[in-house]
Symmetry: C2
Subunit: 253 residues, 2 copies
């Protein structure tokens, strides 16, 4: 068994603990949690510590804390030359303290508290400073996921920015759509099958080939009708900017 | 059996023909197609005509043509006082010629040529000028879908604008995400489970409650890092506008 220790007790840490609990090749030997709170039904409370000096020898330490805490947490570890990774999409590999061997173990997914996730399909983006450490990190990821990618820090940064577009910004467009429905007394539920199908289309079409709508076909009369329909300034601004961007797309490139 | 005639042979017309072919209560008696092309394996070629005067008596005529052709097509119909509906989300009920009884039969979904769709879950937004005609239109919709909504022209306009946000604009964000991946030599496939989960979350959370990311938590250092990462002007403009809009959301309202 590969012995791992999780540092942190937030959303990502808890989902990882639940996933590793089902693994036959990886064992969580300890979890560091400042608050000693109830972390997971899959974890014996005797494994939880809030004392840095109580951390025992593991093959891998996974720091699953907020981005701005990675640096300080990694410097607090009371040992050297062990493999220590963080789980962040945006933090640099170099944000980890130099005293240990560094790596990144980034599950590219949105985690909701209390909502179970099937890790098998979650892409893990892996990076290690030393090539020698890659194999172990890969084995750990493979024990919970079928989707493993070797991704360097620059690529990971690109993925993280792209994820903001397809996750955060997309969800914000859902929110604006939901507002428009509410303001006009129609149920947002009517749009949910469309939202689902828009995402599913990507399994068979590239987003470029899947693009439809008044902006794409330059349907000026529909665009004008929509713009005059939208009285909310924020909705109207976003509508205009995205419509123009779709209309001009490819022209400037 | 309720007898219906479909006018048009485009994407929506073809999907409707395939759906009604499986219905036990509705029968397609004719399809008007200018081009006489092969419309569907589920339709006998003897039912296809390109002669307006060959149209026989039906209980309902569904005009499934592009928005700007609805008016002229409806005025070409060589009969009066029958029930004639269009399938558009954005065209007014009044775009139909006055000589027949008017209605709207709007399936709110994105249709891809050649991709089968399960109509059972597609919301149909129905409207009739005369209350007397509503029941028939509802029966026709119920024969292929479990999701029927009575929606007036104003509500339908709102839904159509909202659909642009959650479908066209969202797909465009997928395209920008895909570009960022391509430009940095990482596979867009890595983002697909995230895209899927972002859409699925709406089944349990409102988009407002599901909103996450650097803009939402006002994480200035991540936002600045992303802005300096994006060298493409179009991507950078969209990033800034949407980030600001998320940051200010609710403040101005």
């Amino acid at each position: 068994m590969i012995k791992i220790t999780i540092i942190g007790s937030g959303n990502v840490a808890q989902h990882l603990i639940d996933a590793f609990a089902k693994s036959n090749t990886v064992e969580i030997i300890q979890v560091f949690s400042r608050t000693q709170k109830n972390i997971s039904v899959n974890l014996s409370s005797s494994k939880i510590t809030n004392d840095w000096n109580a951390l025992t020898q593991a093959d891998l330490y996974i720091i699953a804390v907020s981005d701005d805490a990675i640096s300080s947490v990694s410097s607090l570890l009371p040992f050297e030359n062990r493999l220590v990774v963080h789980t962040s999409g945006s933090a640099a590999l170099t944000s980890l303290d130099d005293k240990n061997r560094k790596g990144v173990f980034y599950p590219l997914q949105t985690f909701t508290k209390g909502k179970a996730i099937d890790f098998k399909n979650i892409p893990f983006c892996l990076e290690t400073q030393s090539e020698n450490d890659y194999e172990l990190l890969e084995k750990v990821a493979q024990s919970i996921s079928d989707s493993i990618y070797k991704i360097d820090s620059h690529q990971r940064k690109a993925l993280h920015v792209a994820a903001v577009f397809v996750n955060n910004f997309t969800n914000y467009l859902y929110q604006l759509g939901s507002e428009i429905c509410q303001e006009n007394n129609v149920s947002f539920d009517i749009l949910k099958p469309l939202i689902h199908e828009t995402a599913e289309k990507l399994l068979t079409l590239s987003p470029k080939d899947a693009q439809t709508g008044p902006a794409k076909r330059n349907d000026i009369s529909t665009i004008e009708a929509h713009e005059s329909f939208l009285s909310n300034e924020n909705q109207s601004t976003i509508y205009k900017i995205l419509t123009q961007s779709i209309q001009n797309h490819g022209k400037k490139l």
